[in-house]
């Protein structure tokens, strides 16, 4: 049995005063220390740091072999200031983040960023809270990150639908992003408008990327987004000091590069044409593909299928529920959640469903057609009654 202890062997830790390491100078304040120094000051040994880097590599969807490169980069990383703005949202994104089941890694990331303003998490309120935001903007001009959850009434909408401290969401966003290095839109409301923007969009809600020009915007969509993806994006910025590679919707490719369908463990059943036809038939019990029960996996790009939820316990498809496509634009208006993608609304034709039996080759086609269908559904804004829902189920 090999044993070591972070608490009694950590060089440079706060309880070891006789022989501080050269890399942890005593005169530095917490705001000027590198991440490596900060962790060791908190009693994290080098082995602990390497473990942190291995878990961070997993979190960033990078190969484990990157752990050493991450360790080298993080040794020199500085704590970035983060201003978190919450607009028209349900706080589900913050709940997801703080209920994350990887407190070691996520908390360390949150400890190592300087979260200077967050309505829900900060103790200050009123003028003191707004003063903290202004102070962080002034002290870190040009280098801070702005994280936004929630959509906001656009410039032509009535600003009264959502204000904070008497400031309209629009004015607060535009004022705060002026000196920001980048903006991270968290959750489907911030990235694509989400529920507030769903038809008929009474508050004139728009997404963050509709308003921000001339600054990089990273979209971390999902309702809520995966906590590991939120912290993974922050970790990536913290580690490499640059923005990740993005897809056509400005989402990080590392997490949104592959469809749920392509990474789904039930995919082999799709390829064999084995589908659950109801939520309690033999196919459902045998774990067959949920495509005909409305799974939006073919048109949805997210990391649920591999990172999973609740500390890797499970994810919707593993629990027998079809993917709702919550990380895609306008998913609230994209037709019924339990309607199979290939069945056009109001028609009985199922040409693609038949093709689906033929195998994997149609996967991409299904995704494309589904996106087209989502657009048309959004235009016509289908409504559904409870009776109709019960009939479908």
């Amino acid at each position: 049995m090999v044993k070591s202890s972070a608490t009694d062997t950590a060089p440079g830790s706060s309880n070891e005063t006789t022989h501080p390491t050269p890399s942890a100078p005593e005169h530095r304040g917490p705001d000027t220390m590198t991440l490596g120094e900060s962790l060791r000051r908190n009693g994290v040994s080098r082995r602990g740091f390497l473990k942190f880097c291995a878990a961070t590599a997993s979190m960033m969807a990078l190969p484990p072999s990157m752990a050493l490169a991450i360790a080298e980069a993080l040794e020199q990383a500085r704590r970035p200031s983060v201003i978190w703005l919450s607009f028209q949202e349900c706080t589900g994104c913050t709940e997801a983040l703080t209920r994350s089941f990887s407190p070691t890694v996520e908390n360390l990331i949150l400890d190592t960023i300087s979260l200077d303003y967050h309505h829900t998490l900060q103790a200050a309120a009123g003028d003191a809270a707004e003063h903290a935001r202004e102070q962080a903007m002034h002290a870190n001009a040009g280098s801070y990150l702005v994280v936004v959850d929630g959509s906001l009434p656009g410039p032509k909408a009535n600003p009264g639908y959502s204000t904070i401290a008497g400031i309209s969401n629009y004015d607060m966003l535009m004022d705060t992003v002026k000196g920001a290095a980048a903006v991270v839109a968290v959750g489907t409301c911030a990235t694509f408008g989400g529920l507030p923007k769903a038809d008929p969009n009474p508050s004139g809600a728009v997404a963050v990327q509709d308003l921000i020009k001339g600054k990089p915007v990273i979209n971390v969509s999902g309702c809520p987004p995966m906590p590991m993806v939120i912290t993974g994006v922050l970790a990536q910025y913290l580690t490499f000091g640059k923005l990740p590679e993005l897809d056509e919707y400005n989402r990080p490719l590392a997490f949104f590069g592959q469809s749920i369908h392509d990474r789904c463990y039930r995919r082999p059943f799709y390829d064999k044409g084995l589908f659950a036809e109801s939520f309690d038939d033999e196919g459902a019990k045998k774990g067959w593909c949920l495509y005909r029960l409305g799974c939006k996996g073919p048109m949805t790009y997210n990391a649920c299928a591999t990172m999973k939820w609740n500390g890797g316990t499970s994810w919707p498809v593993e629990s027998g529920a079809p993917c709702l496509g919550c990380s895609e634009p306008n998913f609230w208006d994209a037709g019924g959640f339990y309607e199979a993608l290939s069945v056009p609304p109001g028609k009985s034709g199922d040409t693609l469903l038949a093709a689906g039996v033929a195998g994997a080759a149609v996967g991409a086609g299904v995704g494309l057609m589904a996106r087209g269908k989502a657009k048309s559904a959004a235009k016509s804004h289908q409504t559904v009654t409870v009776d109709e829902l019960e009939q479908q189920l």
């Binding site: 473990k51 089941f101 082999p268 774990g287 500390g311 890797g312 593993e318």
Partner: protein, 147 residues
Amino acid sequence: MTSLGEIPVRVEGETQVDFGNARPILGEVRHALARLLDSGEPTQIDLGAMPFGPGDEQRLLDWLGRGEVNASIEALGPTRIQETALRGVWLVEYLNADEQRIALHLEIDEVPRLLRAPREDLRDGLAELDARLADADGNDPTGPAAD
């Protein structure tokens, strides 16, 4: 707080379905072992990045079996290392302070990386030992040792 593992859950229906997602990992391990033999290059495989269905991970671990070495490291929570029945193929489970898994890797190497002492720690250890020896010499009733 009650952990998820403590919530009693009874699974009905088929529980022994083989989703076929574990078998391909063995192929990857085979390539990694051959590479380690040929060039000495180690490999880490992040099992958390695999699209496993229920039972796939256990099926893979059953195939890999248990070898004769296990180790645990206490640093930012425990890390458990178990050699599999294939020499040089290590299962590395990273846990947080609440013993919840934060990552699960297969490492194909002679010794897992986390077990090796970092070179900076060797330097610190040498300095620490020198300091302790100096303290010991200072406290020696017979006086400092002659060089």
